[in-house]
C-alpha cells in the first residue's frame, strides 16, 4: 500500500519535474527543402535548411550535419554540410543553403539532415532530424536541354545552311530578270 502510493507520488512528481524541464527547454524544428523546380544531372541543385526554435528558451551548440549527398553521387559546389550555431534564441530561426550538383541521372531518395543541440543547459545534446524531401527523379541533361534550352545558335546555323539554297536561285533569277526587264522600261515611257 505504502509502496503503491509512493510509486504514484514518484510518478506524479516526475511529471512535475519533466513539465518544469519543458518550460526551460528549447525545441528545434528543422525544414529541409529543395529550391529547384527541376532536378537535372550536371546542373546545380539548391537545398535550403531552416531551423525554428519553437521552445521557450534558447538552444545552444546547434550543429547541423547533412550526409545525404554522397560524394560518389554529388559534387559539392558551395555551402558547408556541417554548420554550427552557438545560440538560437527562443521563437527565432536561422537558415542555411547549400548547392550541390548531381553527377548522374536517375531516381534519388533525399533523406533528412541531422541536428544536435543542447536544449537545456547542462544536459547532453538532443538529436533532431529535418523534414525529408523524399524521392526525386534527376533528369538527364540531354532531355532537359531538349525541352528548355533556346537553341538560338542551332537556329542561326540552320538559317545559314538554308540561305544558299534559297538565296542563290533567287539571285540568279533576279539578275536575269533585271537584264531583260530593264530593256522594256524605256518603251513604257
Amino acid at each position: 500500500m505504502m509502496s503503491v502510493s509512493l510509486l504514484l507520488l514518484t510518478i506524479i512528481s516526475l511529471f512535475g519535474i519533466s513539465n518544469a524541464a519543458d518550460e526551460k527547454s528549447a525545441r528545434l524544428l528543422i525544414s529541409k527543402t529543395i529550391l529547384n523546380e527541376a532536378l537535372v544531372s550536371g546542373k546545380d541543385l539548391t537545398i535550403h535548411y531552416e531551423i525554428f526554435n519553437v521552445g521557450p528558451s534558447s538552444a545552444t551548440g546547434v550543429e547541423l550535419s547533412d550526409t545525404s549527398f554522397r560524394i560518389s553521387d554529388y559534387k559539392h559546389i558551395s555551402g558547408l554540410s556541417k554548420v554550427r550555431w552557438e545560440h538560437i534564441g527562443a521563437s527565432s530561426n536561422v537558415s542555411h543553403t547549400i548547392v550541390v550538383r548531381p553527377l548522374s541521372p536517375g531516381a534519388q531518395n533525399i533523406t533528412s539532415a541531422h541536428v544536435s543541440y543542447i536544449a537545456i543547459e547542462g544536459e547532453p545534446p538532443v538529436n533532431a532530424y529535418s523534414s525529408e524531401p523524399g524521392e526525386y527523379y534527376i533528369f538527364p541533361e540531354r532531355e532537359y536541354d531538349r525541352l528548355h534550352s533556346s537553341h538560338w545558335i542551332e537556329w542561326a546555323i540552320f538559317a545559314a545552311m538554308t540561305l544558299p539554297s534559297i538565296g542563290m536561285p533567287f539571285l540568279l533569277w533576279y539578275r536575269s530578270r533585271s537584264r531583260y526587264v530593264d530593256q522594256i522600261k524605256p518603251k513604257k515611257h
Binding site: W155, T162, S165, P169
Partner: protein, 186 residues
C-alpha cells in the same frame, strides 16, 4: 522537198519538247541535286535541337533517314518540275520583246543571216532565258516553302511526339505538301 520535210520535223520536235513537261537531263540533275541537299538540311536541326542520338537506335534511324530523304528528294523534284513548267511559258511571253531587241541589236550588221534564222535565234535565246529563270525561280520558291512548312509542322504542330516520328512526318509531309501544291497551281 526532202530537206523541207526534215526541217519541219525538227522544228516540230523542238516545239513538242518545249511544250512537254519533260525537262532535259541537265535540268533534272539540277532539280534532284537541289532537292537532295534541301531534304538533308533539317537533319541538322533534329540532331541539335531534338537531340536525336543516332547511336541509340541506329537501324530505325538509318532506315528513316534513307526512306525520308529519297521520298523528299523525289517529291521536291516533282514540285520543281511542275512549278517550272508553269512559269516557263509565263516568263517566255514576258521576255519575248526584250530578247528580240537584244538579238536584233547583236545581229543588225550581219546581213548573211536570213529573217528566219534570226527568228530562230531569238526563239532559241528566249527559251534559254525562260528555262534558266523558271528553273531558278522554281528552286527558290519551293525551297522557301519547304523550309516554312517544315518549321511550322515540326515545331508548332508536332512538338510533342517522339523525335524520329517528328522527323519522318515533318520532312516527308512538307515535301508531299509541296508536291501537292505545285500540281494545283495550274
Amino acid at each position: 522537198p526532202q530537206n523541207a520535210t526534215k526541217k519541219l520535223t525538227k522544228d516540230e520536235e523542238k516545239l513538242l519538247r518545249d511544250f512537254s513537261k519533260n525537262v532535259s537531263t541537265k535540268s533534272s540533275a539540277v532539280f534532284y541535286g537541289n532537292a537532295f541537299v534541301v531534304s538533308l538540311i533539317p537533319l541538322w536541326l533534329y540532331w541539335r535541337v531534338y537531340e536525336i542520338d543516332p547511336l541509340s537506335q541506329p537501324i530505325v534511324f538509318g532506315a528513316a533517314v534513307l526512306v525520308v530523304t529519297l521520298a523528299a528528294t523525289y517529291l521536291i523534284s516533282v514540285a520543281h518540275k511542275n512549278v517550272k513548267f508553269v512559269l516557263k511559258h509565263k516568263i517566255a511571253l514576258k521576255r519575248q520583246d526584250a530578247v528580240s531587241r537584244e538579238i536584233n541589236a547583236q545581229l543588225a550588221d550581219d546581213k548573211k543571216l536570213t529573217r528566219k534564222e534570226k527568228d530562230d535565234r531569238i526563239l532559241w535565246k528566249k527559251n534559254g532565258v525562260s528555262d534558266f529563270e523558271a528553273t531558278n525561280y522554281a528552286i527558290f520558291y519551293n525551297n522557301l516553302l519547304f523550309v516554312l512548312f517544315f518549321v511550322v509542322v515540326s515545331f508548332f504542330v508536332l512538338p510533342g511526339i517522339n523525335p524520329i516520328g517528328n522527323y519522318v512526318v515533318s520532312v516527308a509531309g512538307s515535301a508531299g505538301l509541296l508536291a501537292l501544291l505545285s500540281t494545283g497551281s495550274k
